[in-house]
Symmetry: C2
Subunit: 897 residues, 2 copies
């Protein structure tokens, strides 16, 4: 026993492994860590009394296959002499730890499913490998595991070693990990029966909910049924994930996949559920805009052809003066997203984000309670093997020394510079698209073809956004790899540490990648264009782009919706579903090519593990979470400009949640079950995004939308107190005689009698003492915008804190139940204790021989020094003191269960 336990500690502190044993210890500790991951132990503990399914057992039909190891072998006479041929891989019931795939220096790229155990130079010869494998298997046997191997000997191919963990091993590990097992006492889930109205309401709710409940056995029967379900193979359960509108069977997911994946699906469920009210409010806001567009004075004024505002040309020479009423369409469209309800919606969504996080906290605690994780300590989660560190310690000779900051400095420097470089890449990608837009629209405007000319804006915007999208998708993949590479350079200590750093980096890069073009449109576009007579030029020739006449908000809206929808459709469907299928196809083809005979020869003899081996390995939840977090950004960050974002997210997630489930169940090998209490760093990222969204929305409302100028006009400048005259107020005058030579429209259909043209800005008119300087209106509106940002931000922050403070972290029924359980436990303890005490007392006083008593005292004193320090007025007699401790330990024992 002590052997395996020592191995378990190895998982936590790899650096203590002496060099000679390293390879062996690695195998054992690693297998140990995976094999006896807590959930599996717990499941197995409860599955013991079941009739095992026949095809997943050893040849004796009794012992269950808990784990399968696989290795490639070949006869000495094999034609292919690659030294990396003979490898021990682990498949089925669990995948290999994160970060191994594709990082092995010797090959493995053609067989991504394999974990190469014999990493590091020098590569052992075939004979040595067999020795190592035998020693490895021997150690597994020593640890109490039972092994079964294939009897037939093929020339070369995959050999499967099945492992069985007997009851003793499992219970030992369960004890060691302090896993909670249900006691006989049935918990009373309902603390009190509701009466009267509450009961009726509950009943109605239950009935309404009925069609959404998944077709899984009822909670009460769970224990007897799930034992079967968590065992038999995955494909059988596909029907459970049949209907998209039903609740998820989260408990079953947890039973089969472990807590970590269970939490992911539960989180996704909560998120999707909470998207429903957000979508409803978003639709209402949208329809409010739709309903009020006819009565909206600014858009009426823009569409009113009588007002006849002659606008300055949109490009030099090639463009003509134009009438504002021609931009009527965008003005109306703009109102759909830019109306007073949007401000309310932005506040609502900021609070929604807080509510979501609080609600999730509660759900997490509920799940922790019902999954018996309440007592789980932090360190237990973190003690998984860190393959990367291990690899490092194997590859370099300094493995067992502590890394100083000198060792780490180069890594950190490369990190920082790489991230800065990536930032630069993203920014230049955005800038390139801007240049593309400017040049193409200038070129198209100069085209003699009127057809081309009239479609300038549509063509340019559409192509530019698509280019943006493609760039984002490509950079996304690259950044994922860069983040992994950079994190490895840091040599983090534990796997959790590795994962957190990786996630943080990947998030930073991918977030920036996805949002940079959107930020540009929201806050920068059109603000550096200058004003008539003093336009800003890039490359001396091309005028900096301005927003469409309808305002920047509508452009932001288009950009946002295309990137969001495009990213979701392409990444989720094509990448997530298509690429794994493609990979599998490739692998199958390769395998066939290599050993076509065996597969053809033995079609009937293929066991379940052969089939499982053909599946794709699982590579972590990070991509799934990342996708959702980026989506959460779309929903929360710019929601002020696009109230329909929650709806699109909801539609995507309803499909996504089931596609993910299907993928996990049928297309991937069963992932390693990992215990986890929470969703880790993702929670922090979510909470950070929520906070960031407050300030972003404040800026979108006050700077991108026309909300503040309208308010200021109505209450400060309007003579009637209404919005009439707003459009005139927003347009400044320009004296066409002030145009620089060569920028005057060459052909003008609006005649030569124009003296002043108008442009959208708050500047002094040509006849003032400071022509074309910012006017008093500009400054007062700027002050109002900034004041609104302060007001909005602090109001929302205060409200969020209030919401977070009012909603208790722990649901009331859970905390009451916990208290009740504690009381129950104490009662049980008190009742049992006395009987035992009496029994053992009589036992000891009658049967203990003198030597044993002495022996007992000695061992007692070394282990329980408390007694020694008690010579005072209450000298303890040895027997009662021992009994006292036995008593204490019984108490503790009860706690244990």
């Amino acid at each position: 026993m002590s052997y395996v336990v020592r191995e378990a500690k190895l998982c936590a502190s790899q650096s203590t492994v002496p060099k000679s044993d390293r390879r062996m210890d690695f195998m054992l500790s690693w297998v140990h860590c995976i094999l006896l991951s807590p959930v599996q132990v717990a499941n197995n503990l409860m599955d013991m009394d079941q009739d095992p399914c026949k095809r997943l057992c050893f040849a004796d039909g009794r012992r269950k296959v808990d784990y399968v190891l696989v290795y490639h072998y070949r006869k000495r006479s094999s034609v292919r002499g690659s030294p990396s041929q003979h490898r021990l891989s682990v498949i089925s019931n669990g995948s290999y730890p994160l970060g191994v795939e594709g990082k092995d220096p010797e090959g493995g790229k053609d067989e991504p499913a394999e974990v190469v155990v014999d990493v590091g130079p020098p590569i052992p010869a075939d004979g040595e490998k067999i020795m190592i494998r035998e020693e490895f298997e021997g150690n597994l046997k020593d640890a109490g595991l039972e092994i079964e191997r294939d009897k037939e000997n093929k020339a070369h191919g995959h050999a499967f070693i099945r492992l069985h963990a007997p009851w003793q091993v499992l219970s030992r590990e369960a004890e060691f990990l302090k896993i909670k097992v249900p006691t006989k006492k049935v918990r009373h889930s309902r603390l009190r029966e509701e009466k009267g109205l509450a009961a009726t309401m509950n009943e109605v709710w239950r009935k309404l909910n009925q069609p959404f409940q998944p077709k899984v056995p009822h909670q009460e029967q769970e224990h007897s049924r799930t034992k079967f379900l968590s065992h038999c193979f995955s494909r059988d359960k596909l029907h459970l994930y049949g209907a998209f509108y039903k609740y998820q069977p989260v408990d079953l997911i947890r039973k089969y996949f472990g807590e970590k994946i269970g939490l992911y699906f539960a989180w996704l469920g909560v998120y999707t559920q909470l998207l429903i009210p957000a979508s409803v409010v978003g639709i209402i806001v949208f329809f409010y805009g739709w309903a009020t567009v006819e009565t909206n004075i600014p858009s009426q004024e823009m569409c009113d052809e009588d007002q006849n505002f002659t606008m300055c040309p949109l490009c030099d020479r090639a463009c003509d003066y134009w009438h504002l009423s021609t931009a009527c369409g965008t003005a109306r469209a703009s109102h759909l997203f830019d109306n007073p309800a949007t401000v309310f919606f932005a506040i609502f969504m900021s609070l929604w984000a807080v509510m979501f996080l609080e609600y999730w906290k509660r759900r997490q605690i509920s799940l922790n309670y019902s999954w018996d994780l309440t007592g789980m300590e932090e360190e237990e989660v973190r003690s998984h093997t860190n393959t990367v560190t291990l690899r490092y310690s194997i590859l370099t000779s300094t493995g067992h020394e502590k890394l100083t900051w000198r060792d780490r400095l180069p890594g950190y420097l490369i990190n920082i510079s790489s991230i800065l470089f990536m930032f630069g890449v993203t920014c230049s990608a955005v800038f390139s698209v801007i240049i593309y837009r400017i040049t193409i629209s200038a070129l198209m405007a100069m085209s003699p073809d009127p057809e081309v000319k009239s479609n300038v804006r549509v063509t340019v915007t559409a192509t530019a956004v698509i280019i943006n999208l493609v760039v984002i998708l490509i950079l996304d993949e690259i950044y994922g790899m860069v983040a992994a590479w950079l994190t490895e350079l840091e040599i983090p200590k534990t796997e959790t540490d590795f994962e957190e750093r990786l996630i943080l980096k990947a998030f930073l890069l991918k977030f920036m990648n996805a949002y940079a073009p959107i930020f540009y449109v929201a806050f920068f576009k059109g603000r550096f264009a200058g004003h008539p007579g003093e336009y800003v030029y890039v490359f001396n020739d091309y005028r900096m782009e301005e927003c469409a006449p309808g305002g920047c908000l509508i452009e932001l809206c288009i950009q946002l919706s295309i990137i969001m929808l495009g990213k979701q459709l392409i990444q989720n469907n094509i990448f997530e579903i298509g690429i794994p299928k493609l990979k599998k196809l490739c692998r199958t083809l390769k395998d066939k090519e290599r050993a076509p005979k065996e597969i053809v020869e033995q079609p009937g003899r293929r066991q379940q593990w052969h089939l499982d081996y053909d599946l794709e390995p699982f590579d972590g939840l990070t991509p799934e979470y990342m996708e959702m977090i980026i989506q959460f950004g779309f929903v929360s960050l710019f929601v002020a400009s696009f109230p329909l974002a929650p709806l699109f997210a909801l539609l995507n997630n309803v499909i996504e949640i089931r596609l993910d489930a299907k993928k996990f169940v049928t297309e991937l090998r069963r992932p390693e079950a990992i215990r986890a209490k929470d969703i880790g760093i993702w929670y922090n990222i979510l909470s950070g995004l929520g906070k960031f969204s407050v300030i972003i929305n404040a800026f979108v409302i006050s700077f991108t939308s026309d909300f503040i100028p309208r308010l200021v006009y109505q209450y400060m400048f309007s003579e009637t107190g209404t919005m009439h005259g707003f459009i005139n107020h927003t347009l400044s005058y320009f004296n066409v005689s002030n145009f620089k030579p060569g920028t005057v429209p060459s052909i003008s259909s609006l005649g030569k009698d124009i003296t002043f043209c108008r442009y959208k800005d708050y500047r002094e008119p040509p006849w003032s003492s400071e022509p074309y300087q910012f006017s008093k209106q500009y400054w007062s509106i700027l002050a109002a915008r900034l004041g609104f940002v302060i007001l909005f931000q602090n109001l929302v922050i205060t409200m969020s804190m209030l919401v977070a403070w009012v909603i208790p972290d722990m649901p009331k029924n859970i905390s009451e139940q916990l208290k009740k359980e504690k009381t129950l436990l104490v009662d049980v303890f008190l009742n049992e204790e006395k009987e035992k005490l009496q029994l053992i007392q009589s036992l000891f006083s009658r049967d203990l021989t003198q030597e044993q008593q002495e022996e007992l005292n000695v061992s007692d004193q070394t282990s329980l020094p408390l007694h020694q320090t008690q010579p005072g007025p209450h000298p303890p007699t040895s027997s009662p003191m021992f009994l006292y401790h036995f008593e204490a330990c019984l108490h503790a024992n009860f706690k244990l269960q």
Copy 2:
């Protein structure tokens, strides 16, 4: 045993007490809760092997007095017939729970030191009381406590009942509360020895630190010495608190007073310590201002008599025009506090607040570790008796029913309305002082005496601030009582709950009380005064007050320093030290008056408990914390206007920390030891204040100081790019012909040739198209001010988050040590286990009779249902299974210790 345990549960859920037993149960459970508060148990456990001090023991000289109960009695023949005479009170070693004093409906006001046990109508007759007392004592005996009473029988007076908790009771309770007791293995405090430079540095630091270390026994010897210290009476230890410049003996404080008070002193220590760097930086900033005042162009310009700005009169008719150069003094003083370094200091202090909180978090975890509180669960802390609820349940007949929202609604309504009312009271107090200032200065200005006239501002400001201070001090006391009364109306469930609600309310009220006048000066004063020709009047006659010519900042500075210093000096010294002494004097006089004979008769027979009874009872840490938190507000909230605040706070605290210690040790009865892991809601309040301070400082810098106008002038309006001409820029023109009739100065020494006078504002000149409207400068400066607020707030928030994220919550050496201890524990367990296992195995296999084996199995099955569910391929034999569990329990047992 089960009896006391059931009583312990009573502490948590009082409502289950049947009505008839209620009074008795109250006593027992209450005594139980107080008596066996964890620290005392732990201390006693370790003190058992000590020679008890003679005078604190029972008559036998062996059994230690752990607790003293006191009651007033009188012979039947006593002249005074009040039915509330015969009461059982609890004194010494512990105080009574919070919220009891002075709330008893029947008398008790003259004897605030007593807890009236027999509350509630009908008041039992004397005979019944004796019966109750005897039953009470009987129950104490049943619970295993030993009782000693005075033998002599006086006519009337105080009777002291001494209680002794024997070893069995203590160990039983320690076990029940899962108190950690040091095992024999010595922990290695130093994980690694530093080498080279680090070691030298450490040694230097240690030597530098030497004089500041308190003269207490060294850590290594602590165990042997503190046992004595935590026992013998408090006065003996006064010398420990002799020197103000030394570190506090926090461990000893904790040993004697319990964790809660220990944490308070530790917190105070950390706060005071961190005030040192803040003071240093504050002094530097102040001296920077002092050094640059000569070279500061704006104050030079103000003092320059050649500039000759003729200012508009400061009051109607009575005041004359004046030259700006006469305000030279305040301008220079203002520069001391209003210079660019202030901005840096405000940012520094915001980060300082975050650092303080983070540092405290770390210290708290260190203390938790070294005080063995790491495993303490939340609920254990919260299960103290709630006297208030209990009183409620005794006083009303609905005690054992659950309170619905209908029962609570009136309480909440009264709460909200009272708090709003108090807000109103505070605001009207502030407003009254404003009215006082306005009227008095107007009246004094009209006075014919030139002496009076010249001193207007000084006199008015000084008297007003003193009035403010007095109002604050009076309202502070009232608000404390109101908060307590309001919290009782809410009927909170647990004592922690009660305390938190009380603190929150008291904090809200007291905070507002202390800061309302400061907020007024900082953000409102002078902003509603109007401008020449259109002044704002209150009561039709009095002009709204303006800031002094030097700016509002200097007034804020004066207000802040006087309130801060005055509050600290008066509240800390007079109230905290003087009033307890006064109270004690009163009580002594009363006691003497009541029973002068006995005290005179038996002067030599007074035991330690008689002396203790004369001390004041302890009434919680709330006032101590509150004082410090309000001070923290002065240090953090308005630090931008008063960089010397940290210095004043530091000076106060250095004294306060020792005065508090002296008070606790020598002037109060020994408080009940309460286990606590943290400082509770105070942390949240501190963190809230820290966040609030960011936005307040942002507003002070941008709106109260002249920082932004100067910047804007320099970079936007100045023609030379320097500050020259700034004063002229800030002054607007007023055409004296626009004065309203009757407001023109009646006697003007400056002659009749004045056409324009100047005033401090950004308004259009009389010759513009919109005379006296806000100018473009006004709006641009407003925009800059608001922009600065956004920038400052978000910058500081981001930096704070970064600081909080970079500093790990748990010090590295603690987390490493925890890991090491765990490993050690597992090792010990593994070594011990095998021996025990073998021993017990042999014992069982040899000596267990058939009946016992069966019996064991039966009891085993009821308690450990795990075995039953294992009929599968691994049928457990009864003996090894039991052994397995014994093994587990040994493991758990080790954890327990």
